[in-house]
Symmetry: C2
Subunit: 314 residues, 2 copies
Amino acid sequence: MALNINITKELKTVEKLIKSDINKEKTISVLYNYIFKSNGKKIRSRLNLIASSSSKNTDRYKLASIIELLHTATLVHDDVVDNASTRRGTMSVNSLWSNSHGVLIGDYIYSKAFMLMVEIGKKDILSELADATNDISQGELIQLDAMSNIKISLSKLKKISYFKTGRLFEASAKTGAMLAGANKNFIKNIGESAKNIGILFQIKDDLLDYSDSLKTGKQSFQDLKEGKVTYPFFFALKNSSQKEKKQLLSFLGNQSLNNKKALALITELNGLTKTKQLAMKFYKNSVNAANTINNQFIRQEMIELAGIALNREK
Amino acid sequence: MALNINITKELKTVEKLIKSDINKEKTISVLYNYIFKSNGKKIRSRLNLIASSSSKNTDRYKLASIIELLHTATLVHDDVVDNASTRRGTMSVNSLWSNSHGVLIGDYIYSKAFMLMVEIGKKDILSELADATNDISQGELIQLDAMSNIKISLSKLKKISYFKTGRLFEASAKTGAMLAGANKNFIKNIGESAKNIGILFQIKDDLLDYSDSLKTGKQSFQDLKEGKVTYPFFFALKNSSQKEKKQLLSFLGNQSLNNKKALALITELNGLTKTKQLAMKFYKNSVNAANTINNQFIRQEMIELAGIALNREK
């Protein structure tokens, strides 16, 4: 599968637009440029451009930039929350500068996104994105308090995946469709497909944390070491005997974890298999929703993105 | 001087409105309720209600709540940035929970404010508040990088005061006037008056940090101990001999500061007198701007608030 070339070209325009923000204060422009120097996957802005692709509205690029800004602001704040030292292969703002810089430049990027939204001036888009931003912070807060909570339910785990990841995927697609003046049904369907791709994306993220770090470029077993209960651990725990449970609990939040031993037990207890089955469920949901879309180009793009989310190795 | 009783009553309605936000997630509602349990001065929402007082638009209370939410979100993030342990006499979120909780509940409150703004649905109000929020983060970032910078200029210090404090005062008054459907001239004048009250408010804040902590209820000399160059230190430094300069620099960022000795030298070098003169200048600016307002009630309220900002002892 190859990503659509036109949309990839359009994303270059979005990138330029984001980088064109110039602040007279050097301290701000240095931070801002550092953050946007390394390009992310831009899957959310891609979704947004796909959803608005039937329109010639020139605000399409601005809206896709807004989506990227919102996403980046959450990443910068997340790195403070997770005390992460790297992001997209370079040092995080909080580790290169400080937590304070991370908090404030995150606020700067958030409010920049809202300023641009107001320029577009469409109430439905503003409402959807303000809502989504609020839901993301809720997802993060719920996750924070679910830390080391081995009694967490599957529905709570799904809510976290939806709020912290699926929600912005959903809003990216919906607001793209809104900008294009699409009908309610199309907005609903593309939103549903995107939401499921987002949750799938998060499930894969959790899964990749339990895999070879050479492939992903990220450190493995970070979630487990931080005490984060994600799907593989959850399913393994559900399937464990008293003795195995005790062993699993000894892994959680253990900074000097024996990776091989942990992976072996979690695999044996079907933690990875069950998580892959769940990923497949959300893949199917997203394809089913995409199949209700009449526009052939958009339908195919959505199905392709779902496939990429399912099969990604990093 | 006594604050207007009707506006004080209206602020109770605003308070109730803020507290009526109920989140189903216990972890979020507990944090939210904790933050809004202790009531602040509400000077910004008061300004907002004064500015909209000629109108019967029922969105007045909602808009004043939005102003309080935005202000509170900046406070919660500031406490993370400053590593502050207390706020409004109780423990800060970051000290009672964690920095992560502070960052995320701040984001939650920010986006809540934007959601409510979208409900009001006035583009000029949205634009002004998104702008102001962005300026506040800029002010904080500039201040952060001005830390321990003894070469900072007076104009940069004023920019910090305007962006981090004056800007939201200005936006509170302007958006109140916008909601009331006031003319451009009135919006400009009340904004100008409020902006100057805000800067005055910040100057007094800096001044109060150099005074008796028993009166203010806050710890004294925090700015100096943290290495923050504020007006009293700035003016003293400007007025110092080589020998005195060396002494002053030994105070900056000194956690085991001799308060009495520091205060004596900064007073002797006219640091406090010069700061008071500057405060008086902004007081006069705000009164002059207020005097261009025709509506007698609003004019008097603005002048009274300027007086309160000038004379406040805590």
